[in-house]
Every structure is written in structure tokens, then in C-alpha cells.
Symmetry: C4
Subunit: 213 residues, 4 copies
């Protein structure tokens, strides 16, 4: 059975790649004529730490989303309108990440800290929901999936995204009181995804080789 | 028969993906030192609603255009200069969409409302014309198309684009008196494309499997 | 014989696609609070005609360069360092086109008109030289080319690029006295490429089918 | 054995292509109304030489990194989490290059010269480390590599990156006293990579054809 989703994957990859690379445009420069020495520049750059933090956090968040997108689409062989539009929703949210990132960079270190972290975590809640939606519409009809995929594998991927949801929501709620803690949770989820990514891979590979027997 | 249009599709996908992802750069930030509290930021952001509206409207419009582009090129197997340049015209207009989008974001909520909506709808009229042109030049010579495509399928795709034209023109005319209605029509066309996209798919799939008999 | 240049083509396509899509970022917006009515906006936009002209001219120039790049790489099957770096030079110049385009947009309608047209035509002279270089290094060793390509076909492609060179140089020289004429020549070359592109295609297709006999 | 890394390569190519093409956005324009004649523009542009230098230096540095990335991934056939994240680190640093490039463009010709060259060379040190890391994690398990790759070939690639490291570190140290010399060293490394690239190619090709015997 031929994989029909190659052009969707190519388009999605391009959107992820552009979204991730545009983040650097949010890093700022000193105002003209404000730098009289190397020291001035060092001071300016060290005051920019929220920008660098936001850049790194968003880069790797989008990168891990891409890894997960990759992983989901390895299991999807056909497409229908629902998959197209659930994927479109993911791409929309991914392309939008740079805006809350830039807000975070500008206002994390100030009075609007809670608001920007709440907005920033909200977009990750939405992205998580969109991934859950994509996997939900893809698995409603097993004919769209990789031939031979087991229910255990389908369920493991579903759980992987479902478990992320409450954690992102907790990060969102905490942002009103402890914005720094929320960012630490998002950072912590990287480690979770990185580890679970290895585990899912193994199940699916086993699943795949079983299907060839 | 080998498909000759893969590199054109790849290039087109990249242009669509970049055009869609650059839209986020039109979202604005508060002027420096104007935000003293989270509340200031909330007020600023809520005043930016035309920017968010324009961003969403243009993102999904370009996304649906990409879905349609995808669909047309699944039927085109060879290329000639006319196809190359009709496609170039589509890409030019798609890459330009962010400019009227940014005008809409800035002036929809003000005295120049009609003018910006008229410009915004005009670009969709032009894009519709360019899609009609592409399908016209591709179908003049059936040897360029997927082997076995039926006249019914060719006609259904043609009608799909032709029917869009008067609706976009109505949206353009209405923009001078009721700019908000014009935008609603463009939004309504999303639903039309999403639904018709499923129907065309079915015809073409039937067509394709008939051609294998 | 397997084609080894697919990843180079993919990378090049991406650079062309981004270069062409970034051009829209050079279109300007009115200063804040300067637009009191739809009429103000119309006046602003009509004064922006050099920006729109430069955008259109550069978009289709890069697009035609991409068509030509496509055409050359259909004949190149292997790569060596010289091809990699000649191609790198083309990509560098293509990615740079937006800068002279923006200068043209800003100063074509003013005292610096000749200087900006001279810079703008210079980059096309350089790009033409880079294409000639690419074809020169690719044809030094026929083993790098498509098996069965005839000397007539190699020569026709070479001439196609060599003939462009004096025309671009004439446009460059004329820019000091008649900048508008220089732009017309560059526009005229589009028509030349579009027509010659069809003709070369035919020769190469005949060449290709002869090689199969 | 099927190559599993195609989508990683496509994504990486896109990031490289965008990073390299966004560099042009760092070239600046004269302030409005500051240009009264062609001569004013010539003076402005000639004062911009550090921007042009930084643009050229970064473009070809990233381009050569892409050539090397290409070369490494021709040897990697499977992927695991470690490869994914080492590659993610490379892409992060590559996407970040435009920021130190812009700092270099602004401050190379002034009091902060040493600081910006030190930052600029630091990012190349980090990128070199990331390439060493990628090749280290890829070669820990030979099953991930191209079947038939010899230990000699693995070692030659490793040395190629290891030898770059001390040179980048020397460039970094020298930047505090002789910033211009540091840039010359980075420029010199282009020639080294271009030459060694040819040599590695030959070894690997021999290696590859030996593996077929």
C-alpha cells in the first residue's frame, strides 16, 4: 500500500522548519549609538537573557513537536479531509508560536510576567489538543493507518499525547502565581518527550516487525 | 508514465509554506516602555483583534489554496511553459498575500476599512483567476494530464474553480459598502472548499480506480 | 545511472523559494496615524509604485532563474566540489537579490535612480556569470552529465546563457544614462527566456528520446 | 537496507536553506530622506562594508556546513533519539548564526570589535562540537551507518571534524587581540573544508565501491 501523505509531510516539514528558524528574528539589537565599548555590548546582551531563554525554549519545543509529527505520520498512510484540517490546525499553531515567544522575551522580566507565561503555555495547551485531535481523526478509520498497526501501538501513541494535556494545563494554571515554575514544567516535558519518544519507537518497531511475520 | 512535475510541486510547496509562516511577522508588539502591568498588555492585545483576525483568515485561505494546488497537481503529469508560468503567477500572488493581510490588520478597524477589504478580496479574485488559468492551460492538451482521467473529472475540477469566481467578485463589490460581510463570504468559502474538496476527491478516486479496470 | 544531485536540487529549490517569498517583506506601510481615510491610503499606495514594480520584476526574475536551474540540473547526474561551489555562488547571489531590489524600490524614483539600477543590473550580470560557470564546470567532464546527452544539446544550453551576458552588460551600461531602459531590457529578457526555454526543452527531449534508440 | 533518515535530511535542508537566506535581512538601508544623490548612496553603501563582509562570511560558512551535513548523512542510514537530538543541536546553532552575524556587521568596525568577533567565533566552536557529537553518537553503533562502511572511512570523517576544533578555538582566543585575524582564519577554514571535502569524497567512494565487490 502506497503512502499517500508524502506531500503533506513535506509541506508540514517546511512550516516547522520555517517557524523554528524565524525565531531568531526576535532577538534584539542595541539602539543605534548606544554601544561605546565592548563592555556596553556585554551588559546589553546579559540583559537580554529572557530573549535567549525564550528562543531556546521555543526552538526545542517546536523541534520536539516536529519529531512527534514525524512519528505520527509514519503511522498514517492515507489522508482524508479531517486529517488535512487537523494537520492544518497544528501548522497554524506552530507558525504562531513565535508571537507568544516574543511576548515572553519582552515581558517575562517585568510586571506582565504572569500574563505572558499564561499566553505562552496556552499555545502549548492548544497544540497538544490539536495533536490529540489529529490522532483521534486518524484512528477513527483504521484503513487510514499503516497496515498491520496493532491496537496497543495506537493506544500508546494516544496516551502519549493525552498524558501531556493535564501537565500543560497545570503549567497554564501555575503561570498566574509562579510563572518561572510553568516554564520549568515545559522544559521538563522535553525530557519526558525525549524519553517516551525512544520507548514508543521500540514498541512500534516491534509492532512493525511482528506485522511482517 | 512518470510524473514530471515533482520538482515544481516541491518548489510550490515551499513557497506556500513560507508565505503561510511569514504571516506571523505581521503581528505587532507594544511600543517600548508602554506596558507597565499585565493589564496594559491585555488591553493592548485585545485592541489587536483585527491583526489576529487577518492572520487567521489569511493562514487558512493560503492553506486551503495549498490543498487545492495539491489536488490539481495530482492530475498533472507533464509540464510545458504555459503550466510553469500559470503556476508562477499563482505563487507570485500567494507570496503577495501577506501585504494586503497586513493592510487589513492595520486599517480594518477605521476609516480606510472599505479600501483595505477591497484590496484584500481583490487578491483572492486574482488567485482564483490564476487557478482557472492553470487548469485551462493544463487541460488544453490531455497528454499533460494523468493517464485515464475522464472528461467528467476534468469538468468537475474546472467548475469547482469557476464557481468560486463570481462569489469572490461579489465579495469584492460588497466590500465598498459592507466590508465585514465581504470577509464573512471569504470565511464561508473555506467551508465550501472543505466540503467540495471531499466530493471531488471521491469522484477522482472513482475515476482513478475505473481507469485501472 | 542514479541521479546523485537530488539533495542539492532540494536545497537549491528551498533557497530559491525563500528568496522569492521574502521579497514581499520589502513592501512598506504608511507611518502610524498618517492614514485618516481610504483616500489617504490610495494616495500612499499609488506613490509606492516603484516598490510594486521592483517586487514584480525581482519575483519573476528569480522564478525564471529557478526554471533555468531546474533545466540545468536535469542534465547533471553527478556532482563534484566544483559543481557544489558554482551552485553555492548562484544561491548566494539569488539570496542577495532582495537587497538591490529594496534599494531599487526606495530610490528608483529620485536622484539616485542611476546608481540603484546599475547595482540592480549588476547582480543579474553576476548571476548570469555564475550560471555560465556552473555549466562550464559541469561540462568539463561529460561523466557528470545525463548519460547520452549530445554535444549539440550541451552547446545549446551554453549559448543560451552566453547570449544573455552581453545583454545584461548593455543593460548595466545603459543604466547610467537611461535607467528605465535598463529595466525594460531585463523585462524583455523574461520573454526571451520564456521562449528559448520552450525551444531548449524540445531539443533536449528529442536528444533524450534519440539516446534511447 | 532502506535509508530511514530522509525526512530528517529534508527538514535539516530546509533549516539550513532558511538560515542562509534570512541573512540578507541583516543588510541595512539608509535612514529616510538621508539620500539626496547617487553619491550619498555610494557613500552609505561603502560604509556598510562590515555588513557585506559578515553576510558573505556567514553565507558560505553555513553553506559549507550544509555540504558537510549532507556528507555525514550519506553515511547514516538509521536514526535513534541521540542522532535526532545531536542533529537538533546543530540546527539550533545554525538557525542562531544570523544573530552573531548581525552583531559582527554592526560592531566589527568600532570599539566592541573584539567582543563581537569572540561571540561570532564562539558559535562556530559550538557548531564544530555539535558535528563532533553527531558523528560520535552515530558511530557508537555501526548498525546505524551505511552498510559496508569501513573503519578507515569512519575515522577520516571523525578526524576531519576533530581537526577543525583547535583551529576554531585558536580563532576564538585570537579574537581578543586580533579580531581581523580570527575572521581570516574562519575564511581560511573554507578552503580547508573545500579541499578536504574532495579528499573525503574520494575515500568514501573507494570505500563504497570496495563494499560492493
Amino acid at each position: 500500500m502506497e503512502k499517500e501523505t508524502l506531500r503533506i509531510e513535506g509541506f508540514s516539514d517546511a512550516v516547522f522548519a520555517i517557524a523554528v528558524t524565524l525565531l531568531v528574528l526576535d532577538l534584539h539589537f542595541p539602539q543605534e549609538n548606544s554601544i561605546k565599548s565592548g563592555n556596553d555590548l556585554m551588559i546589553f546582551l546579559s540583559n537580554q537573557w529572557p530573549s535567549f531563554l525564550a528562543f531556546i525554549l521555543s526552538f526545542f519545543s517546536i523541534f520536539i513537536m516536529w519529531v512527534n509529527h514525524h512519528k505520527i505520520f509514519k503511522q498514517i498512510y492515507s489522508r482524508n479531509s479531517a486529517i488535512m484540517f487537523a494537520n492544518g490546525l497544528i501548522l497554524f499553531l506552530v507558525s504562531a508560536v513565535s508571537y507568544p515567544t516574543a511576548l515572553l522575551a519582552r515581558y517575562f522580566d517585568g510586571q506582565a510576567s504572569s500574563v505572558v507565561v499564561a499566553i505562552y503555555t496556552s499555545i502549548f495547551v492548544l497544540i497538544n489538543l490539536a495533536y490529540n485531535l489529529l490522532w483521534f481523526v486518524a484512528t477513527r478509520n483504521k484503513k487510514l493507518l499503516r497496515p498491520g498497526i496493532t491496537n496497543a501501538a495506537i493506544k500508546q501513541i494516544r496516551n502519549n499525547y493525552l498524558y501531556g494535556l493535564p501537565i500543560y494545563i497545570i503549567a497554564l494554571i501555575l503561570s498566574f502565581w509562579f510563572p518561572a515554575v510553568s516554564l520549568l514544567i515545559i522544559l521538563g516535558l522535553w525530557i519526558f518527550w525525549a524519553l517516551s519518544s525512544g520507548k514508543i519507537e521500540m514498541t512500534l518497531d516491534k509492532d512493525y516487525s511482528d506485522s511482517l511475520k
